[in-house]
């Protein structure tokens, strides 16, 4: 045996994963993603603004990605499912960095600090919608559009996009697909994962185009003076991914009721499982929506939440008539689906409504949609598990498989669901605690509810919190440490906790 061979054996014993291969694949993702910077650059040229920040950001990211790709030469072969966790997690982290670069390079005063730029970038790709920019309207048009676009790209998933577009990733794609697309189980629409990814993206693009058309039409017909074509496109780009960034400082407050209703409707649609939507809309089987248990519960919760808030608003004499209905429906839909748009500053609402808003942040929309948070199907399954425990207390020998849409759910899946929910709650508590502790050491004045809302809003990829971080405010006053904590929360929340936590464990790296 030569010394070289022995050395190689030694290498493998220390590292359990193919790091070079994983980094190379991450590089590929990032390189292709960097091309998207061309779009805001074109807009910048159109508006006569500085276009070079986007080109530099894209070029730099592309160069880093290309450099990582070169590591692939040392990789022994195609990467497996174990490397997938690292690829997914790193890709999303680097994507956030990439999204933040143009803000830095443009010298935008509100985003001049790297932490702020990273926060805004992560909030973009993770479709959170929490912003450190207080005065959005003063941003360059191209920067405004870049914020919106980053949410749109993050909505259906960077990896899912890569799977749809790149031919190279077919092997090992399944596992990464699953760890990125929200929900415990992925519904296969086609034999090949690539075709499934394409269909999901095409549907996503089609729905976005429909929304853009409707909003353009509203503006064109003079039904909403504020809705110019730029606003129409910008808001469609953050409605479909359930993102929540707006080009207006006061979110959607100043738009006409009709616009608000349309956006509410599309938030509700985007909160449905896209595989199910595909069946309903493309394969013309709308009954599939009604038969799906998750979709039914989703509808019921939207309705129930809206009714609750509606009566509370009437009680408090804040709104009346159509406006009360609209406020209740819009805010419930926005917070439950994790969008984070607002049509009023609900910070001043009565306690019960504010509590409802925070509670809704933990609900989420359907699995397989761009939503964040826990998601309906997990609530459904946890509820059924609890009911089973109750029944088995009386009848210990009774065998009770848990079913979803009539099909029995594997016990391993159920355990993963339970683990997810517990981890989610645990991370939320730790996150809120860190924010509260940090507030004591910095000059930020936040109370318990604000800390809770900020942690829930970022971990659930919702966006706005309460207090100064409310829907009309910004996260700017938080300390750098708090912002980094929330960047982490957005990151781990978007990837559904497990992929990030797994690669942070020691066992992941060992043989």
């Amino acid at each position: 045996m030569t010394a070289e061979q022995r050395g190689r054996i030694g290498d493998r014993a220390t590292l359990g994963i193919d790091l070079a291969g994983a980094l190379a694949l991450t590089g590929t993702m990032i390189t292709y993603l960097s091309a998207t910077a061309a779009l805001p650059a074109a807009v910048a040229i159109g508006y006569g603004e500085a276009f070079w920040p986007f080109l530099v950001a894209g070029g730099l990211t592309g160069a880093v990605g290309f450099g990582l790709m070169q590591l692939g030469r040392r990789s022994p072969g195609p990467i497996g499912f174990r490397e997938g966790y690292l690829v997914v997690s790193l890709t999303w982290l680097l994507a956030a960095v990439f999204a933040g670069l143009p803000y830095l390079f443009a010298g935008e005063p509100q985003l001049s600090r790297p932490v702020d730029a990273l926060f805004e970038g992560m909030s973009g790709f993770s479709t959170t919608g929490a912003s450190v920019v207080a005065d959005v309207e003063s941003l360059d048009r191209s920067l405004q559009l870049w914020r919106q676009l980053s949410q749109w790209l993050g909505g259906m998933g960077i990896i899912v996009l890569a799977l749809a577009v790149l031919p190279r990733l077919r092997i090992g794609g399944r596992q990464m697909f699953e760890s990125e697309l929200p929900g415990p189980e992925v519904d296969q629409l086609a034999e090949r994962i690539r075709d499934t990814a394409r269909r999901l993206w095409l549907l996503y693009i089609a729905l976005t185009l429909v929304l853009i058309t409707i909003l353009l039409l509203i503006g064109f017909l003079g039904l909403d003076d504020r809705l110019d074509p730029f606003e129409a496109v910008a808001h469609a780009l953050t409605t479909m991914p359930l993102g929540g960034f707006s080009t207006e400082a006061r979110s959607l407050e100043l738009f006409a009721p009709l616009t608000q209703w349309v956006v509410a409707l599309f938030m509700a649609i985007a909160g449905l499982n896209f595989a199910l939507l595909f069946r309903a809309l493309v394969r013309r089987n709308p009954g599939a929506l009604y038969r799906d248990e998750e979709a039914r519960l989703y509808g019921a919760l939207l309705l129930g939440g809206s009714v609750l808030v509606f009566f509370e608003l009437l009680q408090a004499d804040l709104f009346a008539g159509e406006e009360a209905v609209r406020q209740a429906v819009f805010q419930t839909t926005s917070l439950m689906t994790g969008t984070g748009f607002a049509i009023t500053d609900y910070v001043d609402w009565p306690t019960l409504s504010v509590m409802a808003m925070i509670g809704l942040m933990f609900v989420g929309a359907s699995a397989g949609s761009p939503t964040g948070s826990v998601k309906i199907v997990r609530h459904l399954l946890v509820g059924r598990m609890l009911r089973r425990e109750l029944r088995q207390t009386i009848h210990p020998e009774l065998v009770l498989p848990i079913r979803l849409n009539g099909r029995p759910v594997d016990e391993r899946t159920l355990r993963a669901v339970l683990a997810f929910v517990l981890l989610y709650i645990g991370i939320f508590i730790i996150g809120a605690a860190l924010l509260a502790i940090d507030a004591r050491f910095s000059d930020v004045e936040i109370g318990m509810t604000e800390a809770i809302a900020a942690a829930a809003g970022t971990l659930g990829n919702v966006g706005p919190g309460l207090g100064f971080a409310g829907p009309m405010g910004s996260y700017e006053p938080f300390s750098d440490f708090s912002k980094l904590v929330m960047v982490f929360l957005m990151w781990i929340g978007r990837l559904e906790v497990l992929p990030v936590l797994v690669f942070l464990t020691r066992n992941y790296w060992r043989v």
Binding site: H395, E397, L398, V399, L400, P401, R403, G406, P408
Partner: protein, 467 residues
């Protein structure tokens, strides 16, 4: 105590029409499989017919050869050579009844090539094959499943208290029940025109039998006290009829099935489709889970069935009936006795070893059912009379219920039910895409529908020709 031994009376239908009539005397029969089913068939048929038996095991063949006058071939039934050697070319009837589905299917497909005119019969444990055969997609003339036959036998024995006779079709989705109308019956149904009587949904009266005469009723006919009526309908509807006609008798609502093997699961399914609440006890953890997934309506317990604490806690003694379908007769025996100790009033046990029938009976089991015997009887019945469209007989042999698949060329296809001429037969139900439909008058008959027809025995040939 009601009955002691149950024999099968139902079978499925053969999709191809053309009744062959009784077998002529002394035909040539090739039989694959000399196990319990095979032996029982041999015993029933050897006197009249020339038999060749194929089996892999000499120790199963030898006793047969010594007791009966037949030819034996020691070979694998799935081998083409063995089938040729058995003289299948000249055979009139080919029966594959090993315990393995695949062997039976392969043997039958070889036999089909070897002797295209021979009638073929397979035994299968897979309900899917039975369904395929019903739909005419399995190239055999007759298919029998031990599990299904046993399940039907059990559900008949537990059945409905007020019914004279019950038969189930299409996996239990369709039931035909004969009721006796008490002389003092005073319900909304009696002495009213059928078109005005509150007849349960998804059901229809297909015959009113009064003394020696009977009618296929129309909307103007009436049910009189003392009549017997034949009703076809869904399991739920059949139960509604039962409560309507005998309000004092309690319908069976709670049956416990011990053992969830293939037979136990089939029994549980058959009872469930009748609307009976079923509790299943299965000692094997994985199997319990499987059955619980398969049968969402049943409550499945993962325990031994002889755990006294469990029996007490789950109030097993309050069940109206218990069925013992575990794999070992000794366990069934003990569990049945234990259940009786706990207060179960009616017990049914499945027999694997023939001798167990006696043992069970001695210890007070009410009904014993031997799946292999039931299957063999069914095959023998078919061998004697291969007109398999006939699936049940009522009133001795005056009426028959046929299970037919409509031909595309039938003049009835495309007609609405109200436009169909009545010629001594009634379509009580159709099975379309595996689901039973109880047709309303504006329903249209489609080609390929499986129809369940009630008719007088003398008209069977006409019905078979027309549909």
């Amino acid at each position: 105590m009601r009955c002691v031994c149950v024999a099968a009376t139902t079978a499925g239908a053969r999709p191809q029409t053309g009744g062959r009539g009784r077998l002529p005397r002394a035909v040539k029969i090739v039989l694959v499989g000399a196990g319990q089913v095979g032996s029982t068939i041999v015993e029933a048929l050897h006197a009249e017919h020339d038999l060749t038996v194929i089996d892999t095991a000499r120790d199963r063949l030898e006793p047969l050869a010594y007791r009966f006058d037949l030819r034996t071939i020691e070979a694998n039934g799935a081998s083409r050579k063995a089938i040729q050697q058995a003289g299948t070319r000249d055979a009139d009837l080919f029966i594959a009844c090993t315990s393995r589905d695949e062997v039976n299917l392969v043997a039958c497909s070889f036999a089909r090539v070897e002797a295209p005119r021979a009638t073929t019969v397979i035994r299968t444990s897979n309900v899917e094959y039975i369904d395929l055969w019903h739909e005419g997609r399995l190239d055999v003339d007759f298919a029998v499943s031990s599990e299904v036959e046993t399940a039907h036998a059990v559900s008949r024995s537990i059945g409905m208290p007020s019914a004279r006779q019950t038969d189930v079709f299409a996996d239990g989705q369709v039931q035909i029940v004969e009721f006796e109308i008490a002389a003092d019956a005073d319900t909304a149904i009696v002495r009213r025109k059928l078109s005005e009587a509150p007849i349960p949904d998804d059901s229809r009266v297909i015959a009113i039998i009064r003394g020696d005469s009977s009618t296929l009723p129309g909307g103007n006919d009436m049910i009189e006290p003392g009549d017997r009526i034949v009703v076809i309908g869904s399991p739920t509807a059949a139960r509604e009829w039962s409560t309507l006609l005998a309000p004092d008798e309690h319908a069976v609502e709670d049956v416990v099935v011990f053992g969830a093997g293939q037979v136990g699961a089939a029994i549980a399914r058959a009872l469930t489709t009748q609307g009976i609440g079923v509790r299943v006890i299965e000692p094997n953890r994985d199997r319990a889970r499987e059955v619980a997934e398969e049968l969402p309506e049943c409550r499945v317990y993962n325990t031994s069935g002889i755990d006294v604490d469990f029996l007490e806690r789950e109030r097993i003694g309050r069940a109206q009936a218990a069925v013992f379908a575990m794999k070992e007769d000794a366990k069934n025996h003990y569990a049945a006795t234990l259940a009786r100790v706990h207060g179960v009033r009616f017990t049914v046990a499945v027999v694997h070893d023939t001798i167990s029938t006696k043992v069970y009976e001695l210890s007070g089991v009410d009904v014993t059912i031997n799946p292999r015997a039931v299957t063999a009887e069914e095959i023998v019945r078919f061998a004697h009379d291969p007109r398999t469209q006939q699936v049940a007989m009522l009133e001795g042999d005056r009426y028959e219920v046929l299970d037919l698949t409509t031909k595309p060329t039938s003049e009835y296809v495309g007609l609405r039910f109200r436009d169909m001429p009545i010629r001594g037969a009634l379509i009580g139900a159709i099975v379309r895409d595996g689901r039973a439909i109880f047709p309303r008058s504006d329903e249209v008959l489609q080609a390929g529908d499986r129809v369940i027809v009630f008719t007088e025995t003398s008209r069977v040939a006409d019905v078979e020709r027309v549909l």
